[in-house]
Symmetry: C2
Subunit: 272 residues, 2 copies
């Protein structure tokens, strides 16, 4: 066996379309962070599903609890991709990892439906939890009791997904107050100048997210999680006034690469 062949066994499924560009960013990071022998052929096999039309809005589902669960729908699509990987004429990948680049998708009501449905469909795939992997990387760098700030939308804040993950890891979560959460939310959703409306990011969205970051730094944050996949479009991961801004999509990319059996560039080197 030649050097680098470890990369040739595993595979990754991206459950994308939530939103579509977040999947592209995850896909790009997987390619960038995978350590290969320099050839196209040494990259991990990957199937990227972006079927937004079929996946209900996560925030709305959590709010109304009506209609199909986005987790169940996504599991069915991922399971169909697993089947494509298992065609008899292909070699069966040893290790198949799946990830979904959406913060709100990791609310227990959605995530648990996703993993349960994958089990029921006997899908031979390991789902990788973006928030747990992010917090796990933080544990490698920060001692228990460190203060971890969270920038997120109103919906993600209300769901408590980041607050709970951070607390369970032994860190102290720092959240924005209502006024600042509304400002962060506006920087993402505002129809005239928000990140979902304007590409590249408007100066107003950038300035507002920087101010929110400074607010969390003044509250004592040791690290800050960019807890919405749109935020890194305006605020780069990496050091900011000596505080580390962390993009969970990067943590998910590294964890998917490792779970699929390949080598990933490490936490700090990969991003900064």
């Amino acid at each position: 066996m030649q050097e680098g062949s470890a990369n040739k066994r595993g595979a990754i499924i991206i459950g994308g379309g939530v939103g579509p560009m977040a999947g592209v960013k995850l896909h790009e990071k997987i390619i960038t962070f995978t350590i290969t022998d320099g050839s196209d052929q040494d990259h991990l096999d990957l199937i990227h599903l972006s079927r937004s039309r079929l996946i209900p809005d996560r925030t709305r589902f959590l709010h109304d609890l009506q209609g199909p669960n986005p987790g169940t729908v996504m599991a069915e699509l991922v399971a169909s991709a697993v089947t494509a990987f298992q065609r008899p004429e292909d070699q069966m990948p040893v290790s198949l990892a799946a990830g979904v680049p959406c913060n709100t998708f990791h609310a227990p009501l959605v995530w648990n439906a996703f993993t349960k449905q994958l089990e029921q469909l006997h899908a031979a795939v390991k789902p990788v939890h973006m928030l747990d992997q992010t917090v796990e990387e933080l544990r490698q760098r920060f001692a228990p009791g460190a203060h971890v700030g969270i920038l997120s939308t109103i919906g993600t804040k209300e769901s408590g997904v980041w607050r709970n993950a951070i607390q369970e890891a032994g860190f102290i979560p720092l959240e924005t107050d209502q006024m600042w959460t509304e400002k962060v939310h506006g920087a993402i959703y505002d129809h005239s100048w928000g990140l979902k409306a304007k590409s590249p990011a408007s100066g107003k969205a950038k300035a507002m997210l920087q101010e929110a970051t400074e607010y969390l730094i003044n509250k004592g944050a040791d690290a800050i999680i960019l807890g919405c996949t749109e935020i890194p479009l305006a605020l780069r991961e990496g050091p900011f006034r000596n505080v580390m801004l962390v993009d969970p999509v990067s943590s998910l990319a590294r964890a998917l690469i490792r779970t699929a059996g390949a080598k990933s560039s490490p936490f700090l080197k990969a991003s900064y």
Copy 2:
């Protein structure tokens, strides 16, 4: 039916992994160029296959004529994705388009094997030819007899794919001479400073590609095709000293969107 529902019928398959990052750039352009109602759900359904390990190197295949034809292999993968779109529990997409973001893949020996195998597998998908679509967009802007320069690797130049497509459209192809083709090839493949080795692009690679561009402008080019998917990493599409640099991946993205039945932002607006 509500406004924008035209986007809800069609779907796109990206035959990616050739190389992996070219697929990501195509995917990103499809999202950026699709005109939607602003919601995730209005984007086209998309399955992006990136199974580099299974797809033989195109240049090597054309040189040696040994081993499986990359076109046949890609057709089998695309057909399996078509099957995933045709599950009875989904709505069948009216219009399914497939594209492969690799210049050399469009050499007749590979492309014809691709389309023939899709037919034999009865895959209900319309393959979209990147080079033909690029030349078609040029015809909308330039009169017959215009001079169209080509920047490409040695392998793509030898295959003649661009030269033939440009001639058939009634334009006059301008190619680099042997010395300049070797310089362009080096800017892409050199293991220490080439585009496949260094990300972001090295100053040396950028400078060399700019010089090659100026060489073609001095030969009288009215437009220049960035005829290798790596070149736009160093040289942006758009106007350069009053000559238009054209990224064929952008033309492919727009054609896939239209073929799938959605609205694309137009040629100039989409890119520049």
